[in-house]
Homo-oligomer: 320 residues x 4
Amino acid sequence: MVKRIGILTSGGDSPGMNAAIRAVTRVGLNSGLEVFGIYNGYKGMVEGYIEPLTRETVGDIVNRGGTILGSARLPEFKDIEVRKKAIAQLKKRGIEAVVVIGGDGSYRGALSLTEMGINCIGLPGTIDNDITCTDYTIGFQTALETVVECVDKLRDTSNSHHRCSIVEVMGNRCGDLALWSGIACGAEIVVTSDTGFDEQDVLDRLRDIDIIKKKKHAIVVISEKITDVDQFAKKVSLNTGFSGRATVLGHIQRGGSPCPFDRLLASQMGEKAVDLLMQGIGGQCISIRDNKIISYPIEEALSMPQESRKPLMNLFDRLV
Amino acid sequence: MVKRIGILTSGGDSPGMNAAIRAVTRVGLNSGLEVFGIYNGYKGMVEGYIEPLTRETVGDIVNRGGTILGSARLPEFKDIEVRKKAIAQLKKRGIEAVVVIGGDGSYRGALSLTEMGINCIGLPGTIDNDITCTDYTIGFQTALETVVECVDKLRDTSNSHHRCSIVEVMGNRCGDLALWSGIACGAEIVVTSDTGFDEQDVLDRLRDIDIIKKKKHAIVVISEKITDVDQFAKKVSLNTGFSGRATVLGHIQRGGSPCPFDRLLASQMGEKAVDLLMQGIGGQCISIRDNKIISYPIEEALSMPQESRKPLMNLFDRLV
Amino acid sequence: MVKRIGILTSGGDSPGMNAAIRAVTRVGLNSGLEVFGIYNGYKGMVEGYIEPLTRETVGDIVNRGGTILGSARLPEFKDIEVRKKAIAQLKKRGIEAVVVIGGDGSYRGALSLTEMGINCIGLPGTIDNDITCTDYTIGFQTALETVVECVDKLRDTSNSHHRCSIVEVMGNRCGDLALWSGIACGAEIVVTSDTGFDEQDVLDRLRDIDIIKKKKHAIVVISEKITDVDQFAKKVSLNTGFSGRATVLGHIQRGGSPCPFDRLLASQMGEKAVDLLMQGIGGQCISIRDNKIISYPIEEALSMPQESRKPLMNLFDRLV
Amino acid sequence: MVKRIGILTSGGDSPGMNAAIRAVTRVGLNSGLEVFGIYNGYKGMVEGYIEPLTRETVGDIVNRGGTILGSARLPEFKDIEVRKKAIAQLKKRGIEAVVVIGGDGSYRGALSLTEMGINCIGLPGTIDNDITCTDYTIGFQTALETVVECVDKLRDTSNSHHRCSIVEVMGNRCGDLALWSGIACGAEIVVTSDTGFDEQDVLDRLRDIDIIKKKKHAIVVISEKITDVDQFAKKVSLNTGFSGRATVLGHIQRGGSPCPFDRLLASQMGEKAVDLLMQGIGGQCISIRDNKIISYPIEEALSMPQESRKPLMNLFDRLV
């Protein structure tokens, strides 16, 4: 049976990664394993930046944002020669299996390593909720809370000035942060890659909100990389009764103490990952699906279509 | 088809009730219904304290704690004569159906009214997560966040003083607030009605945590009505190396701006309730089960056993 | 003696304005005055958008961001004919004196009105802390908290990625938000209109922080309108070992529930304003100076030089 | 000139102590000193639990609650023989001067040490604001924010249930937490050691608030050790129209990330302490007075009377 496992975080960080590191470490140690931290993602694996983790190393981190293991991107990991070096580093330390916390790209690395003999399990760590096989990724709810807090603040001040706040949030391929926060904040309009962006239509609707609904303010939540929000804010000022102001929330969405939901999710997923590795299973990734912690083969997971967001979009429209 | 519906909040309030009121009102109005607010629960129904709700009445409340409709308990509502008065008040205003947000007791009232010809739909509004037919009640995640924030603060100060903090949280019949927050905060010990309370055993474990694990502090989370936590804190001081301090979180757990999870849940459940009423259905309650918004007959719901918390308790033990 | 007073908020809103409105109203009513809310600043004064305020109107607003009275800019108020219209509106309602909450520009309007026979008292409501006669403006501490919370979040994620976060905060003429938050967050570099911006020097210092101090991340806080932070972030990526990322905090700094410090400050200043008006005094503005609530003639106040920020800049340097 | 200084935290911890530790360490190191952390207050001094502090040791702590040095009470420190042992421990390491962060009791120890040849400077670290020579202690504003956040939550739920919340806050000798939070939250009644507690009078006023002012809820803030708040809540239920509920906030008031105000105050005070020690001065304590960082001889400081709170109490009465 497996004796030594490693853990790494890869790609953009997300709140709850530390809770997952803690869970993998504690559950591993309590199950008689030795657990190693691999620093700075696959980069540290290749360079051998690997240290043993103890109960104490992961003490008092469950409530901390970011990742104590650091993260880095390493596109060269696609190269088999690079991966061979990584595996040599693991073998030197007797590490037989690895938990990888990250996004799609990190899952691919985990799959390649598994195929080369190192069992890997993927955990969904990203604020974008853009991993289709899981209902929630670790960090999504916390990022959502950050967005909602910020929009609640913008509402205070928009309200006082007959203003239209245009808020750009993260998540391009997946509009969940925009759609969920739009519902949660009572935004007037949400624009995601699913809804598409018809500029003229949005301006028309804003005019209606001003003139017909007589609202004192309007909030538009929009996913990143859809339009230049500063330019769009100017058009709002020119073409509607509102004064338009753009806010790009940016990287603050990645930080912050994880909310309880993410701490629980990360802990449950970390536990499941260790259990799979102890059963000699690799090449799988952990999901929460229908409120249950399950796993899928990574290959299957990567090709799953996203569940439709239509019901939530309908809800949004019925709440306006 | 139904034309006029009412909505009331009943029992202890919970964060997210306002988001549910807003959703029922907006979805109702957007579906062509008239919507009436019934103030102070069943009491206001009997007394006829009922007012029309508009888009504006429910504007800017999605992020507010408490309930704009007020809440009150009315044990006499079990009496059929009292309910007849209530129904007369509804009929006078042409209100044919009602959404009831509250706990078990409120569901019973909703069922009785349905049997008397007023279709009612129940929504689970309580911070205790003690409604067995739903995975989450409206307000539970927000209350959990309040608990976790408070325990994170206690940890700061316990850490500095070699202290054992004993924290009493709400939820007697259902230990979820204690168990979830215990996992989320990295508590050392959790005591709920499920775990039972063996005082001597807890003291022994605290001694181990001090002497063997050499921890600088310990946190015990305990559900309300299990023991006198002030007395127990004194025993901790006398019988272990820690200085014991009790904190009873109390009613602050019921307040606060609802977290996005609760705002979404409340909105989705409110939408579902209106849709059922429009289909002429009553006597049902709304649940989130396996991440889907569904409904059960109230009678069936009230007799459902609680799902086992064993897996989470095991996880807690493996994380310590 | 004065019988009826008005109150308005003008210019950019700031957290705590509502607490000031409440204080002026309650203290006024409790002193036997009638109090009128003038909506949308001087614009509402000219248009006669003026309503009586009661105890209830200002209930439950002490903890709300924004201003219930709304705000707007009215450059035309410099025109004496416009001011005459405003005064006619006040006289029609018997309003003999007005409290004006806002910034420098609003003070000038207050002074002109006083000279025309309507006693006015100014209250410093702006997040920028750019009113030289007062140590603190209403809203500054709350805005500071918002900035600090955001930077604490950026630190989480910068730490995980060997990143340099460049954070643009409000306050161009006055660098207090940048300097204070830089100290409070342990930023590596602060750039304000006082420090000036020598791009090459900042890049050199960042290289030192990376190579010599071997820090895992760096935070640069910079006042608005000093440089294009997105461009600068690119230069950081090109010229230092850090990956540079810009964040423009924008209007979220104006919102949020006021912190207790601002609620107290606003309440004390509101009280003082009413007391002055009752003594028949106008043309003054309220300050907190050396921890005491005092007043200055507006003319004198507007020409006061800013106290030196040298001591705080030295402290910043000694803490790095 | 002094070469080596020590720093300790003593008595109850308060948010901002870590920011002070960081400031003393960084300013000391940047001035060419060596800085030592003395763990667990005077106890660690006697036992020789003393370690060097580096830039890194105090990195990333400015935003953390509690104290990384730990704290403990040691009544025996009044005994000169015990202090001699402490001094021997310091001399063994060449530590010539010490910064002591704590309350009145800690100041006395600092004065005794100074008289025995070790220059000590006191910093006011306590949430109670009960050190009469300073306008603010380190931690007071943060504790105030915790109280205000909790009361804002209680207001949500009190509002929904026609309830009177009785909130017990820390600070017996000094009622500032009660008085300030009472003003900041818009409480109906405040009870401190200054106001005294006339139970019958408070009940009468609550009846008025219910019957005459027709308020939906009432909040009473009361300092600790004045009455049994649970008993008093029962009397409120029996004797007024409100349902009374008591909440004892307890130790959560000591925790939490320090607010910017406290981080700044701690940093400025830490700087001043190091500067005094470098000038060969001891037996002084640091204060903020009239918005300036100054120092007093400890002896003089300990006998200073508290400034009158009458103006704030009057303000409270005028705001109700």
